[in-house]
Amino acid sequence: MKYAFYPGCVAKGGAPELYDSTLAVAAAIGLELVELTGAACTGAGVLSERNPELADTLNARTLAMAEKEGLPLMNICSTCHGVFSQANARLKKDPEYRARVNQHLAPEGLQYSGTTEVKHMLWVLMEDVGPEKLKSLVTNPLGDLKAAPFYGCYIVRPSWVLGYDIKPERKHYLEDLIAILGAEPVEYQGATKCCGFPILTMNRTNSLTMTGTHVSEATEKGADCMVTPCPLCHLNLDGGQVEAAGVVKKHLALPVLHLPQMVGLALGIPRDKLGLRKNLVDTGPVLEKVLGVNR
């Protein structure tokens, strides 16, 4: 299985542990990744807000790079995934629009004809690798670890752009994956809600209240950790957890794993390769529960 790999900005910047754990898991599973090193930021929805055609053009450029490689595009960020999916839907649907966008790609020798398939790593694991192969690769079942899934808005809504009408099982991939890895998914209301990150600088109190509410609810439901396929959610849930605790006036200390960090633990990948020391909330309790060791 070979993919054009789009790591996004955060995995190369503020969350290097996501990049490292992704490569480690891909190698363990046998995913061949061709990184698109020249691809631009998706704009994270903000650029689409400022100038939709500009954002679509930049994303068409990345989709064209994958198309040129003849590969589906694998990303590791719910937000990037949603932005790509939305742009792709518009570009596929409207040939005239695509032609207009392509005029701006031509000077670079690129053209997008609308064939690239966009897949988040979560979908790659559940649809391309598949539950059976994943199960066979689990050498270190996560035992009685209770993990609260946190999807990130852009990988769940709008559902019709993300193919949930055709594949309704996508609604519970994260819970399914947690179970495949031997852990127990925690059911709570926050799983598909907003983490608050997009408005952190606009309304810090609301943003951190969202984070604090979800983390505390997951904790109250017995979660040992959260797991998210979105590094932007991770920035708030993990990076902002201390401040969120202050806003919701609760003690919070819930480790938040990136998706490939949790998969990597179950696949027996050495924890140093998963960057677990770089998460801001101490992941020691998870390691203790899964491996019987703290560090």
Binding site: A11, E49, E53, P158, K193
Partner: protein
């Protein structure tokens, strides 16, 4: 078909707190969720309160949550929400106080709509007959005009869950409808009002309102359009504008995000920038270092990203 329905119950005059009752009724194959609720009320439990009227997805009376998602129950087929005869859960809308069972108090909703001045305020001499506007000037208002004020978007808004003062998706979509109407003479004042605290910049882009709107209004899209209008009108002294400008500048110049700079640029006040210090210190102590080194650099091919920006900046389709 056999319909199994779990219904949220609450009677302010009763002895029991919020609870659920379960019912099973026989319905036609093409029945809607509302048919099940009416059947329960008429034939099984006359104490159940349900608000409905047109049964044609026009009046907006019957919005409630089915399996956790706001919808008009009059056009939600049982076969869609329970394709294999599963039990469904019906609850009143969220973000509004419950009066009884599935009926909520919409006063909060209406107050938000009223607060955006939902009528046209023309300026200048009145025409002899009606105000005439060109068709193309009304095209972008079609979606917002289709709002039937059912409240589904407000019910599931993730911001209202944590901050009841937020203007909310229905009112802000309506706000765009009037701010962008060529007959209105108070666009600038409107944009200033909608830019204030609890206004357009508090939306998180979570797509909940887009997902649940039964009429395809997509309120979030119009909130974002309001932001573009506000920025174009010179209302730039907001962290939202600074964030957006910094992100665009970073991508334009280097092809990707300079996260640290983006965070610093977004805050207008120095005292707010200081709030970044603790998380910055924690990040450094954890040894987090960008894969590309400590200094932000251009991605390969960044010159093409810059060129695309130059070709398309200022162009808004």
């Amino acid at each position: 078909m056999e319909a199994k329905v779990r219904v949220a119950r609450y009677d302010p005059d009763g002895n029991r707190d919020h609870h659920f009752d379960e019912y099973t009724v026989q319905l036609a194959e093409n029945a809607m969720v509302l048919d099940a609720l009416i059947d329960i009320r008429e034939n099984v439990d006359e104490t159940l309160s349900v608000r409905c009227s047109c049964r044609s997805a026009i009046c907006g009376s019957c919005a409630m949550r089915v399996n956790g998602k706001a919808t008009l129950v009059c056009n939600t087929p049982m076969s869609r929400v329970a394709p294999n005869g599963e039990q469904i859960t019906v609850e009143p809308m969220g973000n509004m106080p419950v009066l009884k069972d599935l009926v909520v108090d919409l006063e909060v909703f209406w107050n938000k709509v009223k607060a955006i001045t939902p009528w046209i305020q023309p300026e200048g001499p009145k025409p002899e007959r009606e105000y005439i506007v060109a068709d193309e000037h009304m095209q972008n208002l079609i979606n917002t005009v289709q709002c039937i004020l059912c409240g589904a978007c407000v019910s599931d808004c993730t911001v209202l869950e944590v901050d009841p003062s937020f203007m909310g998706p229905a009112a802000l979509a309506k706000a765009y409808r009037f701010a962008a109407d060529p007959r209105d003479g108070h666009k600038q004042e409107r944009l200033e009002l909608y830019s204030q605290a609890s206004g357009m910049w508090d939306c998180t882009h979570c797509f909940q309102c887009v997902e649940v709107c039964p009429k395809g209004v997509a309120p979030m899209d119009w909130i974002l359009e309001l932001r573009r209008e506000a920025e174009a009108a010179g209302l730039k002294d907001h962290n939202g504008v600074r964030h957006s400008e910094s992100l665009a500048h970073s991508v334009k110049e280097s092809g990707w995000l300079d996260e640290a700079k983006l965070a610093m640029d977004s805050y207008g006040k120095f005292s707010d920038k200081l709030k970044l210090v603790p998380v910055g210190v924690r990040t450094i102590l954890k040894g987090k270092m960008p894969k590309t080194g400590p200094f932000h650099h251009k991605r390969p091919g960044a010159e093409h990203v810059t060129r695309i920006f130059e070709e398309l900046e200022g162009k808004h389709s």
